[in-house]
C-alpha cells in the first residue's frame, strides 16, 4: 500500500448568513444575544484600562484582548479595538453614516455562547446605533473557522441610515461570496445581501481561482491561452463589464483544455448576457491543448449598464470545475474572425481584452473592504455573519458547503460538551 495522491478538489465551502429581525417589543438596554453570558477570563490589562474596569465595577473586565478557540486548535485573538487578528491579517468593522459619530473604543470581553462556547465580544455605540461583534471558533474540519457575527441595533427610536464596512488588508480580493488573499479564501461573505461599494470598469465578481500557466496550448496562439481562472467545486466564473445601458457587443470567449484528454469530462455552459447560451466541450470540439473560441452577440438585456459574462459547469459533468482563458469584447458592428482572435491579432481592436487569470485580470471591486448599506427602522436590528479563516485554515469554497452559522454553532457546542466530558 502506498500513500494516496492529494485530492484534486479543495475542501468544501460554508454558507455564511444574514438575518434581519423586526424591532423587538422590549428592546434590551444592552445588546446581548440570547444564550450569551459574560464570563471571567484571563487577559492582560494595562493600568488605564484596569482603572476603567474598576471604575465601572464590572466583574468581567472590559477593553482587553480576548482569545478564543476550539479544542486543540490554535486560538484567534480579538484585540482591544475589537479587531480579529488572524494569521493573514486583521478584520475590523466600522460604521459610518450621516449624523453618526465616531465610536469610542469598544468594550471587549470574553463570553460563553450557549453556556459553553468560548467567544469574544466587542460592543460599540455609534450614536443611536449599537454595534456588537461576537466571534467564536467553529470546529469545521480540518482546521476550524472563525464565525463573526455583527449585530446592529437602533437604540434611539429613529430611522437611521448606516454603512457597515468590513475592514480588511488592502491586498485582499473581494469576490462574489468570498474574499481571497493570494489564492486563499479568507472571508466568507454573508448570503442574501450584496456589497454596496463602487465597482471598477470591469472585473471578475466570482470566487474562482486564478491559475496562471495552467494550460499548455499545442499551437501558437495568444499568450492568454496559457492562463485560466477555474471555478473549483462548481463555482461559476462571472465577469462584469460596464457598458452603455442596452449596449450591443460581440463577445469572444477563448478556451484551452489541458487537463482532460477525453471528451465529456468538463463540458461547460457559457452564458453571455443577451445571447443564447452555448454548451461547450473543448476537447470534443477542438481537442486537448487546442485553443478555441466562441462568439456571442451580446446585449445588456436588463439595461443595468453591466454586461455579464459567465461560464458554468454543465449539470452532471464529471468535472464540475469550469474554466475560462480569454475574453474579448468587440463593437457590435465588428465581426471578429475567431482564428485571428485566437492568434492574438485582434487584441488591439478589442474594446476589452482580458487575460483571464493572467497579468491584466482584476476583481470588480478594489480590495481592502466590503461595504453594506442599511436602513435601520426605529429599534430595528440587522445581523450579518462572516466566516473568517482562522490560523492555518481557509474558508471553504462557496456553494459546496452545507455549513450554516447555526450548524457551526451547534457543532461548536457539541464538541465543547464532549471535550469537557472527557
Amino acid at each position: 500500500m502506498s500513500h494516496a495522491p492529494a485530492d484534486r478538489h479543495p475542501s468544501p465551502p460554508p454558507a455564511p448568513g444574514r438575518t434581519c429581525s423586526p424591532p423587538p417589543q422590549h428592546p434590551l438596554p444592552a445588546p446581548r444575544a440570547a444564550g450569551l453570558r459574560a464570563t471571567h477570563r484571563q487577559a492582560w490589562l494595562g493600568p488605564c484600562r484596569l482603572a476603567g474596569v474598576l471604575a465601572l465595577g464590572l466583574a468581567a473586565p472590559l477593553w482587553a484582548e480576548v482569545s478564543f478557540t476550539s479544542p486543540g486548535l490554535p486560538p484567534t485573538q480579538m484585540d482591544d479595538q475589537g479587531r480579529l487578528l488572524e494569521d493573514w491579517g486583521a478584520v475590523a468593522v466600522k460604521l459610518t453614516g450621516a449624523g453618526l459619530p465616531a465610536a469610542p473604543p469598544p468594550a471587549v470581553q470574553s463570553v460563553k455562547l450557549d453556556g459553553i462556547i468560548p467567544a469574544a465580544q466587542a460592543r460599540s455605540q455609534y450614536g443611536p446605533v449599537a454595534v456588537t461583534l461576537t466571534a467564536f471558533r467553529a470546529p469545521a474540519w480540518p482546521a476550524g473557522l472563525d464565525v463573526l457575527n455583527v449585530r446592529l441595533t437602533e437604540t434611539a427610536g429613529q430611522q437611521t441610515s448606516a454603512k457597515l464596512s468590513l475592514l480588511l488588508p488592502d491586498t485582499v480580493h473581494l469576490g462574489l461570496k468570498t474574499v481571497t488573499l493570494g489564492g486563499r479564501a479568507v472571508v466568507g461573505l454573508p448570503t442574501g445581501i450584496k456589497v454596496s461599494q463602487a465597482m471598477r470598469e470591469w472585473g471578475w465578481a466570482d470566487d474562482a481561482l486564478a491559475m496562471p500557466g495552467w494550460a499548455t496550448p499545442a499551437v501558437e496562439c495568444d499568450p492568454a491561452f496559457r492562463n485560466i481562472r477555474a471555478g473549483m467545486g462548481g463555482v461559476p466564473i462571472l465577469y462584469r463589464f460596464k457598458v452603455e445601458p442596452k449596449a450591443r457587443l460581440n463577445v469572444v470567449l477563448g478556451f484551452c483544455e489541458s487537463y482532460w484528454a477525453q471528451a465529456g469530462q468538463r463540458p461547460v455552459v457559457c452564458r453571455v448576457e443577451g445571447a443564447p447560451p452555448q454548451e461547450l466541450d473543448p476537447v470534443a470540439r477542438w481537442g486537448q491543448h487546442q485553443p478555441g473560441a466562441l462568439l456571442f452577440a451580446a446585449r445588456d438585456e436588463n439595461g443595468d449598464g453591466l454586461l455579464d459574462v459567465a461560464v458554468l459547469p454543465k449539470l452532471g459533468a464529471p468535472d464540475q470545475n469550469p474554466i475560462l482563458n480569454v475574453i474579448w469584447l468587440f463593437p457590435a458592428d465588428t465581426q471578429p474572425n475567431l482564428e485571428q482572435a485566437i492568434a492574438g491579432r485582434l487584441n488591439g481592436a478589442a474594446l476589452r481584452y482580458v487575460d483571464v487569470g493572467g497579468s491584466n485580470d482584476q476583481s470588480l471591486y478594489a480590495g481592502g473592504q466590503a461595504e453594506y448599506a442599511f436602513q435601520l427602522p426605529p429599534g430595528g436590528t440587522e445581523e450579518l455573519t462572516f466566516l473568517v479563516a482562522c490560523p492555518g485554515a481557509s474558508v471553504p469554497l462557496p456553494d459546496r458547503a452545507a455549513w450554516t452559522p447555526e450548524k457551526l454553532r451547534q457543532s461548536a457546542a457539541q464538541v465543547w460538551r464532549q471535550w469537557q466530558a472527557r
Binding site: 468544501p12 482546521a143 486537448q288 457539541q414
Partner: protein, 498 residues
C-alpha cells in the same frame, strides 16, 4: 414482487438479540469460518475490561414522520382509478412501514388519517417543522398528490422520501422532481426500495453520531465534517502503540487468535505469536475506541510499522472489527474511512480500501490492500474463505487474503471529500496471489463496467464492496447534496496531462 424484505436485508432479517449474538460471535473471532459455533455460547468469566464491539457501532435515534396522501373519496376516473383498493393498499403500506421501522430501529410518527386537502397538508407541515424529524416519508395514493410532495420538498426543511406506487405517477411527475437534492422517489410497487430510503436516513444519522479517531501525528483536537456531521477526533499516533504495549495476552486475545487461525482456509506465514499480536491490536483498538467514546478509526499504520513501534501491523484486527460494522481505516486516510463507513452504515457490509493498479494486458483493474472484511454479503451473513498471510510490505504480523467470489459484481466507492463521491462498478475476474504478484494480500482483478480503459478509473483508496450499489449510493448522495461522479466511460485519446 413487493415483499417487505430488501436486497440489503443482511442484519435486517435478524432480531436485535440475534444480531447482537452474531456481532459478539464475530467479535470473539469465533465465527469466521462460515459457521456459527456452539462454543461461543460457553460461559466465560466476566472480564471487566472486555469491550463489546457491538456497542462501538453508533446507535442513533432516528425519527421519521410519515403520511399517506390521497384525495377525498370516492375516486372517479383518473389514476389510480375507481377500482384501486385504497383501504387494502393503505393497510398494507402502513404494515410494511411499521415492519421496516422496526427492522431499522427507527422512531415513526405516522399521521393517523390520510391527508386529503390543503389544510391537512398545512397542519402536517407545521407538525414537521415543530418535530424536526430526520426525514419525511409520504405515500401517494392519487396522481394529484405531487403538488403536495413539491410543497414538502420546498418547505419541510428535511429530506423527503416519496413512495409512488404504480398508478400514482407518470414519467412527467418524477422526471425532474426525483432528481432534485434532498429528495428520494420510489415510483414502483417494490417496498424494499422504500426501506432503502429509510436506510439512507439511518445511515446519515449514523454518520452524525460517529466520532472517528484520527490516529496520526502528535496533535489532539476535535473537528466536525461538513455535510456528514461526523466528529473527527485527532489523537497522537503514540496513543495506540503505548496502549498496545500495555495490552495483555488475556483469554479474549487467545480465543481470538486461536479462532482466527482455526477457521482460516490456510495459514501461510503467521506464527502463533503473530496471531496473538494481531489479536492484541484488535483488543487495543476496541479499548481505545471505548476510552475515547469513538465509533470508528483511521490510523497512520504504515508510519507506525515503518518506525517499528509495533511488532505487527493492525490489519488482522481491522478485519475482525470491519466484520462487526466498526470502521477501521488504513493510513490515516480520512475519506477512505468515511467511504468504509458508507458501506457499513448504508449497505450493512464491509469493504476494503484499495490501491488501484492497471492491468494493461487484460484491461482489468487490480484492487489490492491489506485489510478486508470477510462478511462480504452482510454483517449477519456467512463469511467467505480467507487465508492468513503476513503483511507483505513488512513481512510482519497478520494480513488477511480474503477470497472474493469470482464473477460477482462489486462497487467501488470513494468520497473525494464530503461534497463529492466517486462510484463505479465491475465484476470480479480473479483473486490475485502474492506471489507471483507483489503488493497487498487481498487483491482482485476487476473488469470495470462502463469504463473503456482500466487506466482511467478515478480515485485512490476506493472502497471495494460486494454488490452493485450504484443506485442506492447515488440516491443517498442526492438526498444529502453530495455530487456523484463516475470514471470516464470512454478512453482518453492522445496524451493525457497530469
Amino acid at each position: 414482487m413487493n415483499a417487505p424484505h430488501t436486497h440489503h436485508q443482511c442484519s435486517g432479517c435478524l432480531s436485535r438479540r440475534q444480531c447482537l449474538q452474531v456481532l459478539s460471535t464475530a467479535a470473539a473471532g469465533l465465527a469466521l469460518s462460515g459457521e456459527f459455533f456452539p462454543a461461543l455460547a460457553k460461559a466465560r468469566k466476566p472480564d471487566p475490561d472486555f469491550v463489546d464491539p457491538a456497542a462501538l457501532r453508533p446507535h442513533p435515534k432516528v425519527r421519521v414522520d410519515a403520511a399517506i396522501l390521497q384525495q377525498p373519496r370516492p375516486y372517479w376516473l383518473g389514476w389510480p382509478g375507481t377500482t384501486y383498493e385504497l383501504d387494502r393498499h393503505q393497510r398494507e403500506y402502513r404494515a410494511w412501514l411499521a415492519q421496516s421501522c422496526q427492522r431499522l430501529a427507527l422512531q415513526l410518527h405516522e399521521e393517523e388519517k390520510p391527508i386529503e386537502d390543503e389544510s391537512g397538508m398545512t397542519a402536517f407541515l407545521k407538525g414537521v417543522k415543530e418535530r424536526k424529524p430526520d426525514a419525511v416519508l409520504v405515500i401517494l395514493q392519487h396522481m394529484s398528490g405531487w403538488g403536495w410532495a413539491n410543497r414538502l420538498a420546498k418547505e419541510a426543511g428535511v429530506p423527503l422520501l416519496v413512495f409512488s406506487p404504480i398508478g400514482t405517477s407518470f414519467t412527467g411527475h418524477v422526471a425532474g422532481f426525483s432528481r432534485q437534492p434532498g429528495v428520494y422517489v420510489v415510483s414502483s410497487l417494490e417496498w424494499p426500495a422504500v426501506e432503502d430510503g429509510l436506510r439512507m436516513v439511518r445511515a446519515k444519522r449514523m454518520f452524525e453520531e460517529t466520532r472517528l479517531l484520527w490516529i496520526r501525528g502528535d496533535q489532539r483536537n476535535e473537528t466536525v465534517l461538513d455535510r456528514l456531521g461526523t466528529k473527527v477526533r485527532a489523537i497522537p499516533r503514540r496513543t495506540f502503540n503505548e496502549l498496545f504495549d500495555r495490552m495483555p495476552v488475556n483469554e479474549e486475545v487467545k480465543e481470538v487468535a486461536s479462532s482466527f487461525r482455526k477457521h482460516a482456509k490456510r495459514v501461510v506465514e503467521p506464527t502463533w505469536q503473530d496471531s496473538l499480536n494481531s489479536a492484541r491490536a484488535y483488543t487495543t483498538a476496541k479499548r481505545l475506541l471505548a476510552d475515547e467514546q469513538a465509533n470508528a478509526l483511521s490510523m497512520d499504520c504504515l508510519g507506525m510499522v515503518g518506525a517499528k513501534l509495533v511488532p505487527t501491523p493492525p490489519c488482522g484486527g481491522w478485519t475482525l472489527l470491519q466484520d462487526v460494522g466498526v470502521t477501521c481505516g488504513c493510513e490515516a486516510d480520512l475519506f477512505g474511512a468515511t467511504s468504509l463507513m458508507l458501506t457499513s452504515y448504508l449497505l450493512d457490509r464491509p469493504g476494503y480500501m484499495n490501491d488501484p493498479v492497471a492491468e494493461t494486458v487484460k484491461n482489468l483493474l487490480i484492487t489490492a490492500h491489506c485489510t478486508s472484511g470477510t462478511r462480504l454479503y452482510g454483517f449477519a451473513q456467512k463469511p467467505v474463505p480467507y487465508i492468513l498471510r503476513s503483511h507483505s510490505e513488512s513481512a510482519l504480523g497478520i494480513s488477511v487474503q480474503v477470497l472474493w467470489p469470482v464473477g460477482a459484481t462489486v462497487s467501488l466507492i470513494r468520497f473525494s471529500d464530503t461534497n463529492q463521491l466517486i462510484i463505479d462498478t465491475g465484476t470480479v475476474v480473479s483473486n490475485v496471489n502474492t506471489p507471483p504478484a507483489g503488493g497487498c494480500r487481498t487483491s482482485l482483478e476487476i473488469r470495470m463496467h462502463n469504463v473503456e480503459d482500466c487506466r482511467d478509473v478515478l480515485g485512490f483508496h476506493q472502497v471495494v464492496t460486494l454488490g452493485d450499489h450504484r443506485r442506492v449510493v447515488e440516491a443517498f448522495c442526492q438526498l444529502y447534496g453530495i455530487n456523484v461522479i463516475h470514471s470516464p466511460e470512454h478512453a482518453a485519446r492522445g496524451k493525457a496531462s497530469a
